[in-house]
Subunit: 330 residues, 2 copies
Amino acid sequence: MEAFRMFHELGVAPPVNVKFVIEGEEEVGSPNLDKWLADNNGDLGADVAVISDTALAGPDRPSIVIGLRGLVYTEIEVTGPARDLHSGQYGGAVLNPIHALARIVAALHDGDGRITIPGFYDSVRVLSDEERATIASAPFDAAAHARTTGEAGSWGEAGYTVRERLGARPTLDANGIWGGWTGAGAKTVIPSKAFAKISMRLIPNQEPDEIFEKFAAHVRALAPAGVKVEVRLLNQGRACLVDTNLPAMRSARAAYAEVFGVEPVYMLEGGSIPVVASLAEILDVSTVLMGFGLPDDNLHAPDEHYALENYYRGIETAIAFYEHLGGSAG
Amino acid sequence: MEAFRMFHELGVAPPVNVKFVIEGEEEVGSPNLDKWLADNNGDLGADVAVISDTALAGPDRPSIVIGLRGLVYTEIEVTGPARDLHSGQYGGAVLNPIHALARIVAALHDGDGRITIPGFYDSVRVLSDEERATIASAPFDAAAHARTTGEAGSWGEAGYTVRERLGARPTLDANGIWGGWTGAGAKTVIPSKAFAKISMRLIPNQEPDEIFEKFAAHVRALAPAGVKVEVRLLNQGRACLVDTNLPAMRSARAAYAEVFGVEPVYMLEGGSIPVVASLAEILDVSTVLMGFGLPDDNLHAPDEHYALENYYRGIETAIAFYEHLGGSAG
């Protein structure tokens, strides 16, 4: 690795002032963040926020994420009989909550991969030809996508490209399901309860609260008679779009170009970083998403990793960004 | 409790010879039992076998089970993407194995509670009016059934009574399902795999091997394109019917009547005791099912229990049975 130019070693003042907000609650729905931001609003004034939690388009293909999907994360609890029953003794004469849950989950998409929640797409804008062209021109490693997803990667909402499905359309996924005997071998039980975790990724204009209400009503409507259904909201966040005309976005572009030797591209990211919406709504501060991960870093999966090379390039890009932002760039 | 008449204390020889076969493998599919029975065929000759693994119709309503359902217990493994994926990064562009599994499980019954496996009912006899009348006259505590099953107990195969569904018709139940994040809170993962345990209760004439093949083919046919499906057989056993004209059945009736003060009734039992078929096929020995449990003993569930009163009455009934069987009854 090369040596970095440390501002204090160079005898120059840092070109910008920096305040750190460390968000450690994202994966549990950030229950305290918004209140804390509001309580400390006076101390947190800033021209722009910077978050490094996104990925490059590829190892030598810098990119700046300009759109993040929102999130609604739920848990469904289906209750059938009052207690676990022996499937030989009661099988055939009791509605099994696993079957009821399977029917609910199976009915959440139609045969074209569209989400069946009534009103789910009401506030989803139709993509313009120009937007579709922009999305189509973004770098995308189809071979890597195919390697990771296998034949399962051929699935998706009819009428949209893989790139559109990944960032420009809202989605729904079961993140977990469980009920009854899940150990090795056979146990002949009809469980009293079965559960699923279902999350939705939202695009701008979809209100998380409203989407959750529509989802919960749909799940209750899909439940067959004979079971009780509870739907809980675990986690939520609004989608966001970053204004590409921000001065800080120009600084970010220049910094990536300087360090990587190529102009960065704008990308839509399928994931969610709810704090971005909180910073905008509570502090009125826009965020620049300068990430340095790679699409195959196995986020949230076993063997999640991060290349040291990108770590060092990220430091360099951040330095260049601060110089451009502070007006001290050579 | 009263004192029992011990044969040796009374100075009389036991009225019958008794051999014990202790079957400790039932819940893992008895992988060694049939070979052991065949290897020891010469030592195991008997006039009749007795098994106490069934329930009374009620605390003071003795009953003898004359039919047991067979069992086919399977595990389904559905594989989608090659590894677990982040649902924000890949959601919308990959077939989620939980959704694929939900579609399979949801499609195993039709809207009338019938099992959809092609050919599943081929060898199932139509119940005669006489058989239906016999089943209808068997004791059944509808209030207890409703208490245990709640509203879920209103479900079942259209065209059959609860009593018929419980013993005279074949059934299919998911005994377990799991995949993805099943802990507390939210994890935004699309798992690579999802699993279910599915078992079927069979009636006489349904061959377990044949039913398993039909089930596996059906599951593979139901799987949407983009996932791989494996179906494994974990456990199986044939259904059986006991001949009510066996001399030992007459002895059993007399013994129950003597101890309980009322004639026992014949009942069909929904559960499976695969060793009964093995004893008949390998040793050519019929089994009398003299059980002393109660329908609400919570078999295979938390808080499974057994009343001491039935334990003592069971000992008395067994003594009376041996006396009648050996011709030494008063």
